[in-house]
Subunit: 376 residues, 2 copies
Amino acid sequence: MKFTLKDFDEKARTGLIETGRGQIHTPTFMPVGTQGTVKAMSPDELKEIGAEIILSNTYHLYLRPGHEIIHQLGGLHKFMNWDKPILTDSGGFQIYSLSSLRKITEDGVEFRSHIDGSLHFLSPEKAMEIQVSLGSDIAMAFDECTPYPAEYDYAMKSLTLTTRWARSCKQFLSSLQPSAFSHQPFLFGIIQGGMYKDLRKKSLEDLVEIGFDGYAAGGLSVGEPKEEMYDIIEFIAPLMPENRPRYLMGVGDLMDILVAVENGFDMFDCVMPTRNARNGTLFTSRGRISIKRTEFKADADPLDPDCDCYTCRNYSKAYLRHLFLSKEILSMRLNTIHNLYFYLDFFRKMREAINSGTFKEFKRYWSEILQAKAVG
Amino acid sequence: MKFTLKDFDEKARTGLIETGRGQIHTPTFMPVGTQGTVKAMSPDELKEIGAEIILSNTYHLYLRPGHEIIHQLGGLHKFMNWDKPILTDSGGFQIYSLSSLRKITEDGVEFRSHIDGSLHFLSPEKAMEIQVSLGSDIAMAFDECTPYPAEYDYAMKSLTLTTRWARSCKQFLSSLQPSAFSHQPFLFGIIQGGMYKDLRKKSLEDLVEIGFDGYAAGGLSVGEPKEEMYDIIEFIAPLMPENRPRYLMGVGDLMDILVAVENGFDMFDCVMPTRNARNGTLFTSRGRISIKRTEFKADADPLDPDCDCYTCRNYSKAYLRHLFLSKEILSMRLNTIHNLYFYLDFFRKMREAINSGTFKEFKRYWSEILQAKAVG
């Protein structure tokens, strides 16, 4: 994996990840395509708004339609008609958050599907096999997501297991043939350790010793207070290898992202922009808007006068409100286009700020907007 | 309204309707945009698949968001970002099919909204006012949709009322100022009369005496057996003025459309392609397909190998099945694109068949496919 750092602004940094399927400018935001589609979007629309990489969920695709079927059909890129990079998670987090009856052993996790209750077993080996058969560009090591709160002992045992699994993932991946339609995925290790700094440090050091193409912080944004999360972010980011991409998993609040980028994180994913869009909460350069509010009933203005997305170029707030209240599919489409465009544009501007040494001003400017009460 | 007939193949005919907002080649199919959007589609996609006109529902837009708001925002075309022709129905059929507590008087209909139960009154004058304020290109006269079955006496009284209302519509429309953003709509009269031929004939003759830009057959496909509907279609079409567009309202089954075109109808609308799409029933050149079926689980082929739509060019049946089972929004989008493309393409080919004098062969060929059992 080729990762080139471009500019630094104190600890914040810009860079370029190069893969066989295209470039990724960092810091980058990955829209989430859980079930082989970013909800409400077409691949063409994702390209149009400038997405360079998306995330897809191993757990979901393994359960439905099944990775063997996707493999047989030529891989996930072909299946979903997306030719740019895809990062696949390992399934660990979804087992933690969605499935029932988990039984964790040294070998892996037994769990019941959230779809039909059927019994399944995922292990480091299985997680690698699935991600390779999907044709993933960046695979994640299989981890146990440490819950919050967790006792010190539990967090230590959990990270030890995660580290052991990470080693198994790397070994097993190197023994696997790449899929005919794809390069072998790059592999990222996942740092756990709960809210304990010494455990986080140990987790990271053990992973670095094994050696990965990139490093991710997992087990954050799982219910802990913001201060605790920020504390871990500030602590761990500077310790992570400088010449490898640093990925903060599942954290998508823009304020949190500003803090993480300030400390040197490069990659992010979250359902927040897409999920909020479907619920009618829209991000704008003046703050958040709830599109259902009566004050927009006859509002001829676009959502965001400073936005160049398809939605803002063509539709009024009054129309978007009407579509939302009428529960029209186009409501979810136009709102999602806008929110994702807003996120990707925010990242573009953030990279420019880092490149021009003005990240501090950028952060101060946006912090005020993001922390203000919703404007509508 | 400029309507030019191009070719005849026995009673079937092709023609061209010219409006200030663009041409409409007939026979034409109008996708239904009930609430100011054709469900799951963007206006750009509608253009891409070749839609030349859409239908929008006066009843729905009057109730939500309200025609005054749409007027204030510059009309329906601007509101929904669609600059081609729009035909608006009069609301009569929706009052009949959706609302409760209807009270029909000489002046109009009192009814309760299906959304919130609020009390409303629509009249010929009000229906014209609404359609003008929306900026409609083709307005429909306000009618009472005669239910099926209906006694002879009821059908006669109903059509007499519809005729009286039609006259009021024409008179009132001529007294209204057109909206600043639109030409004054062309006005179509609606033939009622239930399943009684003499009443249908009387209804038509009375309307022709008043004089309209086009004539529509209403009150069909409301529960009557196909034979009765075909009987009325065959009876009434040849009696309708040759030099005016003939519109068969709400009939969208392709077999029915073949019969109607054979007898000289020019315009059609129906929710069938869009609603079926959302339910996973897809039209193909080999017959209907239910996309959820297990046999498509790993099917790498497109829905229809003979189809050039975006969906068929880019996605496998296996992917479409996966999206449908996963209840993804993209499922409804891709299915709708395909079904509407299929309909519009069917109409293109039908016009070619008429122009080249091969409509009979066209009808025979498609009848077999359309009447066969679903293939999947």
